[in-house]
Symmetry: C2
Subunit: 194 residues, 2 copies
DNA sequence: TGCGACCGAATGAACGTTCAATTAAACAAT
DNA sequence: ATTGTTTAATTGAACGTTCATTCGGTCGCA
């Protein structure tokens, strides 16, 4: 067991998690480095041992969070199921990830609509790009979906799921499998080949 | 003709427009008051003649922009048309507003995902609430749509249109009536009663 | 003894906001 | 019309605060 690596990871992870929580709560400019340090129980200077600047901290947090999202979406992937079933599984996984990780969802939405996304378009999760986007591309190629550009499809799906998750969270509603399926049905009905 | 009123409006409007452009370009914290003042050709102090603080400037800009969006959506409203036709008109109007006002679209998206929206939920466009949300509510009550909570319906529709507008803008594609209708069809197919 | 992890006070730049001074406009009296 | 008076609009340098970042030093392990 490499203790040094553990320490490395634990402080680094604490900083990332604190950034996620504080950015969600107060926005990018409302989450100063001093507060992030305090929340993560490290000194302000320690952050700069792991990250070059606040900017790179945010960008690396984005990639890590999107990686986590991709992993959550891909969980229980079963090649033997029908495309529609796999699509529903993807959507429900994504929805559940948002419900269970509100800070992650809010952060991702903030990031996408911030100048960061425009300034570092190449900084993104490789896992998400290959597996998730790839799956949607297969749906278009396989004639399950309308002939939509996949770059349009992704944000469309995300928009609906985020809207639904935001709504459920704001209403403090209790988790219900039917609710989720209803929302996914909206997405599916919209984009499937009629 | 009231010259005083003209001057009042012109400086105030210049400040609002500059804020819109700079926030779109650099984000909330990347658009300092000094830069907004310079861009609007006024002194820094002048901003505080019209707005109490940067916070209220942003909130008032949000309300004004959403009012403009509502007006654009309602343009050419024809009660004699079918609900579906009116819905398509609404959607196409909204889409066109986004395409023609990219800074407004980006600003609205940033605002919705910022702490402002959570801190001042009551600060919003009355016109939008009454006319646009009201129209969607009528669609649910009149059994044109699935039985969806209207608070879920709004963001769902917005998410798709914004995704589409963002995509068209990023690709610098030429305006095409068919493209728009295709996107609106996705929304309609998703939420209409099957 | 050396080295990387870590600390936190210090730094200087940038920011939102203020305010005393200036100019322009509106109004009143003549 | 002219002048004097009041009010509003505008300015930009100055202020105090906050912020991201730095750096000299401490600690603990190899």
């Amino acid at each position: 067991m490499n203790v040094q690596l553990n320490n490395f990871n634990s402080k680094r992870e604490a900083i990332l998690n604190s950034t996620l929580v504080l950015v969600k709560e107060y926005g990018f400019h409302g989450a100063p480095m001093s507060q992030i340090a305090k929340h993560a129980n490290v000194a302000a200077g320690t952050i700069y041992h792991y990250f070059d600047s606040k900017e790179t901290l945010i960008v690396e947090l984005y990639i890590r969070t999107k990686d986590q999202l991709a992993e959550a979406i891909l969980e229980g992937y079963d090649e033997s199921k029908s495309y529609k079933d796999r699509f529903f599984k993807f959507m429900i996984n994504q929805y559940n990830f948002y419900i269970q990780n509100e800070p992650a969802m809010v952060f991702l939405e903030q990031y996408i609509n911030s100048p960061f996304a425009k300034n570092f378009p190449e900084k993104d999760s490789i896992l998400f790009k290959e597996k998730v986007i790839g799956f949607f591309q297969a749906g278009i190629d396989g004639d399950y979906f309308k002939k939509i550009d996949p770059r349009l499809l992704g944000p469309t799906i995300r928009g609906t799921l985020v809207a639904a998750a935001n709504f459920r969270l704001s209403e403090h509603m209790i988790y219900s499998e039917e609710d989720i399926t209803e929302v996914v049905q909206i997405v599916w009905d919209g984009i499937k080949r009629q």
